[in-house]
């Protein structure tokens, strides 16, 4: 997808004016955190599992070369192939070449954030191969020509009526007067239409939630079963995964799987978890004849070397989106690229460059909820702050001039006290006893959607001095 992450502020402004989006987000940000809270409450060992998962992933990242090589050897031993790709362009070409070799006309896809990251759909379509999204939400936004607004529920920004209208427009061969009022009816139609696509697809393309070094297996989780149809019907299966997805053993996979669904959808486990190892075996009545794993770096090895290694622990559960007050206000599209919410604010500048995502590290209230609920205990606020520090050092931070002015006074305490005391008295005077400002010159951006509480006429420092004098 085409990134608009550089214009977060404008995107967010538009999103805030969208009342339908606000309604969808409100219902969503009530539902998911509550489901997570309940399901985590049923598992006394949840925090112990988090600690283990952090230790496990830290170990893997320090030994990533070892586990990747072992994973590759095991895939090959199982009859599969591994394709290493440095960047998005290499991954696109690799996938296209596999599809061409298979003589593919259509490719059935299950949801893959890495697939969005490398914009594989656009590339296949430009080369005469039709990509078909099969996850219900992804399919809906694909036929609308949109991009996902959430990594788990991509069509969260749409109402049932929006979807029904889209189906009427796009499924032109079906009877005009059919009823699509109920979500159930929309589902039946999607199932029937997509069933044909599964059966016709020459190649199946999935992501992978985990790569298992011990066995050369990929693990894929879904609730719909679409990835499983993709992994059993087409004659070629391509799994696209970034390099940090590897774990050592099946036991380690179990530990992470206990955290994944609980954190994301608030389920103990998703309906389907599949471990796929190589192509169809001798005598097997179904399964693909070819099994390819496309291993993508695209910035991960640089993150491993730098200040953002901890972000590579991310398992893409979406919990930080579900709990984020900024995401709840503006939704996923405002972030302007594949990854949204707090994890997107850290990841996108890593993958696209800070200059193309300059507002994202600032799209935070620093409430700390994301770090609190992250199953992999990624210090997301600290990592966002790291990007802000970098912006400040580069002189590209918003408000850097104001901060420099503040720093001038802060280094001169006597002057600081006099200046702030004056400022506070002036503001109190201007507020005229109303206790708040509806509008403030030079701060219209801040006071547009909210009031600024007016100072009481005294600074904290002067109150503190008086208080300590009174009670020595």
């Amino acid at each position: 997808m085409k990134a608009t992450s550089h214009r977060f502020a404008e995107n967010a402004h538009e999103a805030l004016a969208d009342t339908r989006l606000a309604a969808a987000l409100a219902s969503f940000t009530r539902t998911f955190p509550e489901k997570r809270r309940q399901v985590v409450g049923r598992l006394a060992e949840f925090d112990a599992l988090r600690d283990e998962a952090v230790a496990l992933k830290t170990h893997v990242l320090a030994n990533l070369d070892f586990y990747l090589e072992r994973f590759e050897a095991k895939v090959i031993a199982a009859g599969g192939r591994v394709h290493w790709c440095r960047d998005a362009a290499e991954a696109r070409e690799t996938i296209l070449a596999i599809c061409r070799a298979a003589g593919a006309k259509t490719v059935a896809k299950s949801k893959s954030m890495v697939g969005e990251e490398i914009a594989i759909n656009e590339h296949l379509a430009a080369n005469g191969i039709r990509p078909v999204e099969t996850d219900l939400g992804e399919y809906i936004i694909q036929i609308r020509g949109e991009s996902p607004s959430h990594i788990l529920v991509p069509a969260i920004h749409l109402s049932g009526r929006d979807i029904a209208d889209t189906f009427r427009a796009k499924h032109a061969a079906l009877p005009k007067g059919r009823a699509l009022d109920e979500p159930e009816a929309i589902l039946r139609e999607a199932r029937a239409v997509l069933r044909e696509k599964f059966l016709a697809a020459d190649v199946g393309l999935t992501g992978a939630n985990l790569l298992i070094a011990e066995t050369g297996s990929i693990a894929v989780v879904t609730n719909e079963g679409n990835a499983d149809l993709i992994m059993s019907l087409p004659s070629v299966h391509i799994a696209l995964a970034s390099i940090e997805k590897v774990v050592p053993t099946l036991e380690d996979a179990a530990t992470i799987l206990r955290l994944l669904a609980r954190s994301s959808t608030g389920q103990d486990i998703t309906a389907y978890t599949t471990f796929a190892t190589g192509p169809r075996r001798a005598g097997d009545p179904d399964g693909p004849a070819e099994f390819h794993v496309v291993l993508l770096d695209n910035g991960r090895s640089a993150m491993l070397a730098g200040d953002f290694r901890e972000m590579l622990r991310c398992i893409r559960c979406g919990a930080c989106l579900n709990h984020c007050p900024v995401y709840a206000a503006v939704g996923g599209h405002a972030y302007g690229w594949v990854y949204s919410g707090p994890m997107g604010s850290v990841l996108t500048p890593n993958l696209l460059g800070l200059h193309r995502a300059r507002d994202l590290p600032n799209a935070s209230t620093f409430c700390g909820k994301c770090e609190e609920i992250c199953p992999m205990r990624i210090p997301l606020p600290a990592l966002m702050r790291r990007w802000r520090e970098r912006q400040f050092a580069e002189g590209t931070a918003k408000g850097a001039a104001a901060l420099k002015l503040w720093a001038f006074f802060a280094r001169r305490p006597a002057l600081y006290r006099r200046a702030t005391a004056m400022g506070v008295r002036l503001l109190a005077l201007l507020a005229g006893g109303r206790g708040r400002f509806r509008r403030l010159p030079l701060a219209g951006g801040w006071t547009g959607p909210r009031d600024l509480p007016a100072p009481e006429g005294r600074t904290f420092l002067s109150l503190w001095t008086e208080r300590t004098r009174r009670r020595p």
Binding site: N63, E69, V153, D252, D268, F275, L304
Partner: protein
């Protein structure tokens, strides 16, 4: 190998060089002797407790469970359940279950082999049930086609109650113990917990998106036939 491979591995090695946690001998040991991390208490218990938990968790995930006295009773119980629910009687059955007395249920139109696009009902065989989340474990193989698990609208799964284990790790141990020289992982290990579902439309939970709308577990209590 490819230049991309060399470049990526070199970049990774540069990134971790001197890291005190980099220890390939420890990695080797970890892979050679896989061991369990924390196993939740809900994955432990007596056989009776695990059986009860498996049923409760599977039902919580919207599966239905029927107790069957012995394997020979499976066709009759399956036929009765399909009839009681007004469901189709044409069923694709895993060849692994071919030895069951299907001739006693002429009302069922059974075929053995993989599922086709128009197979409305399937009957497949699970190798294990995992109590902690009510999860079925099915393996691909010549006599256990994977398509039976996903294509039909109605999925019946036969599970020997003695194959109910507590936790995911127990299922891996079972698989490793049974594994042959060519490796113990079949092409596909399918964990299935309840029927297919989605909340993509207005967060309303709907069943049967791409996979089965109904998952019915036939839990065989008695001795193996």
């Amino acid at each position: 190998m490819s230049a991309a491979r060399d470049d990526i591995l070199a970049a990774v090695r540069r990134a971790v060089v001197g890291d005190p946690a980099a220890d390939h001998a420890a990695c080797d040991r970890r892979l050679a002797h896989p061991s369990a991390n924390t196993v939740p208490a809900r994955g432990r218990g007596t056989a009776a407790e695990l059986r009860a938990r498996f049923i409760a968790e599977a039902e919580a995930a919207a599966a239905t469970v029927a107790r069957v006295a012995d394997r020979a009773a499976v066709p009759a119980v399956a036929a009765a359940w399909l009839a009681a629910n007004g469901l189709p009687t044409k069923a694709g059955v895993a060849p692994a279950l071919e030895t069951l007395p299907w001739s006693r249920t002429p009302e069922l139109d059974v075929g053995f082999g993989r599922a086709e696009a128009d197979t409305p009902v399937s009957v497949s065989a699970a190798v294990a049930g995992i109590a902690e989340t009510g999860t079925l474990v099915l393996l691909s193989g010549p006599r256990t086609p994977t398509t039976l698990n996903y294509l039909p609208d109605v999925h019946l799964v036969v599970l020997d109650a003695r194959r109910i284990v507590g936790a995911y790790e127990d299922a891996w141990a079972m698989l490793r113990a049974a594994g042959g020289a060519a490796g113990f992982m079949p092409r596909a290990v399918n964990w299935i917990t309840g029927p297919s579902r989605s909340a993509d439309i207005e967060l309303v939970l709907l069943l049967g998106v791409h996979g089965p709308r109904r998952l019915h577990i036939l839990l065989v209590d008695g001795e193996a036939a």
